[in-house]
Assembly symmetry: C2
Homo-oligomer: 337 residues x 2
DNA sequence: GAATTGCATGTAAGCGCTTTCATCCGTGGA
DNA sequence: TCCACGGATGAAAGCGCTTACATGCAATTC
């Protein structure tokens, strides 16, 4: 059945050294003679020894645990197609450390309080925070409490917190420019919610591109959506009603772009002949829409790796405190534009 | 900055009792006089005391941590639309316990070994295992090691492990029967991979329904897919080629059903007039396809709650060892059938 | 009123580890 | 040959908690 796990002491006895020495070997201290080390390692392997984390944390005050905190009142995060990738990315970034990944969901006031208290009491060494709405008090609370924290996505303007984000603005700009430079004269946009930085950034990228090509932003060419497919469909209809001659649209994310595509098809517009469409995110479905969706891809793996790396750096050097990483995006050319 | 967390001893001093008493209060031992308890609770609240898990585990040998283990060589799990829901479900099921959710990904041989060793060494109190392919050694290894474990999804036939699953067979049978009893004479199916129990179960549900209505299984009416949208499209084409008069199809999951729908549309078949389609899972997109997809829904919340509950029971009573829960599914009537 | 009981509370050991400090041994210089 | 030195190793304390056991007090019994 369940044999009690071997302890440091047993290893020490087997290797005929003291527990202190074994501990030094386990923790890679340089002050151990090679042959002693060898002997200890043999004993460790023989017994299948694995250090007891509880005992270790008790003395080191470190927990070797980092938390992925999902701070969201609703369950929107779970419909975020990137959430799984992010988890996977973090998980593989820490795969060859001793770190473990704790998942903390903070929905609603009560859980928020619980999570914050839990973290503040030093139960985790660091936090990666996914939080969608801007007025979340958690990011600030944690950093003020001195807990190493890294945000997924740019914080609100004015907040200085370490974060990793895609170059949403640059990506949007590139997408829109692509439309414009292909001779499209009337390019609209369907934005995301403007209370999220992603929403704002992608919209600003659109206006950047307009400005680059000497055009003015026309309010009638802008529709807002909430990142859902239905919102995209709805917004597309509105745009078309106001501007029947519209010939290009930059959509702030793929689900909305897919909704737009369907509306376009239903209304008999050919894509890309009549209207060119570019989305953002390159979700799995984007490759199989009709026509396949041209979209902007974020380097998800690079981003998660960067988050993990930034966090680890912050954990062992608290002075690092307002770094950030912005990752370049890439336009994936498919048939819709 | 980061004030050291208050300890039991400080609470004891403030409440003018011994640490033992405080501990008893914290652990809800009944042998404490109400007024003493009151005083201690006041001190706890005043200091914002939270027990140190490391110290506690060290003596109790419990970790108050359960792991969600995702055992999969590839990253398929992450494309599983239910994965987030499951996480969310477990997370809320343990929300008002002291338990924490640890996420362990085991891809590849190396991580598998690491995860197994980690778990065997008592670093978690219990495990919820999501594993897609049938020949995974982990489920058996864990149960044999005496680690309380609950599977998400039915294990291979012959394995006796506690699990929670949807009534895939019943759901498939109901869906197919619905098609049959609506007068569809030639009902085919697109199955999932038959090396997964879900795949097999849903296929058997189809044959059950056929048998119920006195029909024989016709091999030509069966196509296999890998649960992807493209596979669904491909399979649909094959089915139609062989049986142009096909007037109904039960598809083993929604993405494949969506693929099938698109093929049907591309080939000019009207849904449901010419061909009725029923999917399985009720993914978010199912409601917005054209026409909206009739599908079978699993009671995801009920299922995850059941998993958590089963696991907790197993944790404090190891004798419970081959229970399982099968949750009824529901046919969601929309326009496609 | 003394002896007994029962219950609340306190004392203290010890969980497995890291780390400080002391100890020991071999080396090289005088 | 002796001493000083430095580097490897060991002894032991202590991290914050739970719990077996001891203790003390009040209520109960005769």
């Amino acid at each position: 059945m369940r044999r009690p796990a071997p302890t440091l002491e047993e290893v020490a006895r087997l290797a005929a050294v003291s527990t202190a020495t074994v501990s030094r070997v386990v923790n890679r201290s340089p002050k151990v003679r090679p042959d002693t080390r060898k002997a200890v390692e043999k004993a460790i392997a023989h017994l299948g020894y694995v250090p007891n984390r509880a005992a270790r944390s008790l003395v080191t005050k470190r927990t070797d645990t980092i938390a992925l905190v999902v701070s969201e009142s609703e369950s929107r995060v779970f419909s975020d197609p990137f959430f799984p990738s992010i988890m996977q990315g973090i998980s593989s970034a820490i795969a060859d450390t001793e770190l473990q990944l704790l998942l903390l969901l903070a929905r609603g006031e009560r859980e928020h309080v619980k999570v914050e208290r839990y973290i503040r009491h030093g139960h985790v060494d660091g936090v990666i925070l996914m939080s969608l709405h801007g007025d979340d008090p958690l990011p600030r609370a944690l950093t003020e409490a001195g807990i190493p924290t890294v945000l997924s996505g740019r914080p609100r303007p004015g907040e200085r917190l370490p974060y990793v984000d895609a170059d949403n603005r640059g990506g949007a700009r590139a997408a829109t420019s692509h439309l414009l430079s292909a001779g499209r004269g009337k390019v609209g946009t369907i934005t995301g919610p403007l209370d999220m930085t992603v929403g704002v950034d992608r919209f600003e990228g659109y206006t950047d591109a307009l400005r680059d090509s000497g055009q003015r932003l026309r309010k009638g060419l802008v529709e807002h959506g909430d990142f859902s497919k239905e919102a995209g469909a709805r917004a597309m209809k509105a745009l078309l009603r106001r501007h029947p001659a519209l010939d290009g649209v930059f959509v702030a994310n793929d689900p909305m772009a897919i909704g737009a595509l369907e509306t376009l098809q239903a209304l008999g517009r050919r894509v890309p002949d009549d209207v060119a469409v570019i989305g953002f995110d390159d979700v799995a479905d984007a490759a199989t829409t009709n026509p396949p969706l041209t979209t902007v891809r974020q380097p998800l793996e690079v981003m998660t790796e960067a988050m993990a790396e930034l966090l680890l750096r912050r954990i062992d050097d608290a002075s690092v405190d307002d770094e950030f990483v912005v990752c370049p995006t890439r336009l994936i050319h498919r048939a819709s534009a």
